[in-house]
């Protein structure tokens, strides 16, 4: 889901840089207010976890690959604004040091995976969790938060790809950037995520959630808020 350089037109990646900068600004302000020193290691761990989980490429046999992102579980545990910063850190380092995701596309990739995903995941988790403070319902909420978060990110990414032929083409209609229209990009990316990658994301989210609920229940932010 890391959009490389050359796939997005400037009229796409520049506004998305703008949106990401706005979210980074708000996120840093919120963290300054809310995050206490004892949470700093968790910000670093969350960012490292997200960075690493994205290296586990999952194959569609004979087809493409994809991966989990970790943006959902970080949002559930540390709050969506901390997740914005944690996942963005991973994505920026991936782009600059490892060429995974374009430099021009950092704003877009952060918007998709570090903004859309954490907020969707956080919202879904709270919606499904309801008033539950323990039990199966929490696991289901965690699974769905990861599942929906990654799926939403994939669809948004596909839309960014798919609008390129519409908004950036030569006078004869030849695409200048990503060549495939919405009718190809959206089904392709939605299906592989809905059927495989998002399921893995959901499972990873449940595993990490249960691990933290067991060992560090205070940190489970959305639960702690209930107390």
């Amino acid at each position: 889901m890391h959009i490389p350089d050359g796939y997005l037109s400037p009229q796409t990646y520049i506004p998305l840089y703008g949106v990401s900068f706005a979210f980074w600004g708000i996120a840093l302000k919120k963290i300054k207010k809310e995050l206490s020193a004892k949470h700093v290691p968790y910000l670093a761990m969350g960012a490292a976890f997200s960075f690493l989980i994205m290296m586990f490429n999952i194959p569609v046999p004979g087809g493409t690959t994809g991966h989990a992102v970790g943006g959902g579980i970080i949002a559930v545990l540390l709050g969506p604004w901390t997740a914005v910063i944690a996942v963005s850190l991973g994505l920026i380092i991936q782009a600059i040091v490892f060429g995974d995701g374009g430099i021009t596309a950092i704003g877009a990739n952060c918007f998709n995976m570090a903004i859309v995903m954490p907020f969707v995941s956080y919202w879904v988790f709270n919606l499904v969790k309801g008033n539950a403070t323990q039990g199966k319902r929490l696991s289901i909420a965690a699974f769905l938060s990861g599942y929906c978060g990654l799926s939403a990110a994939a669809v948004i990414t596909a839309v960014e790809f798919g609008i390129q032929p519409l908004i950036a083409h030569a006078p004869d209609g030849t695409p200048l950037y990503a060549p495939y229209p919405l009718s190809i990009a959206v089904p392709a990316m939605a299906l592989e995520h809905l059927l495989l990658f998002s399921i893995v994301e959901g499972m990873v989210t449940v595993m990490v959630f249960n691990y933290f609920s067991k060992h560090e229940p205070d940190l489970v932010r959305t639960l702690a808020r209930e107390a």
């Binding site: 690493l52 490892f98 560090e216």
Partner: protein
Amino acid sequence: MTSFQKKTWIGLFIMALLTPLGVVLPKWFNAEDAWGEWGIDKIEKLLGYIPAGMKKVSEIWKAPIPDYNFGGESASMATRIASYIISGVIGILLISIAAYALSKFLVKREK
């Protein structure tokens, strides 16, 4: 650092050791690039041409460790596996440095 945090960091380093699964499994199952992340050569094969804008921008940045791989495109599987693990560890270190630097500016001291 609490013992839970220590355990979690160890878990993250174990994850780094396991990252080569991310190159080995796709190879096994004959899976290629992620959708929309094709290199410029692959695009030319898929389309028969390289979109003009893409051609101009695609090589704009030379990453120091492209694709988490120290060996270049012809690298052996063993090199790729070792590169992946090393990249994972480098990632953990860079992120930790960045996160702590960021927090120095942000987080109020607690006594």
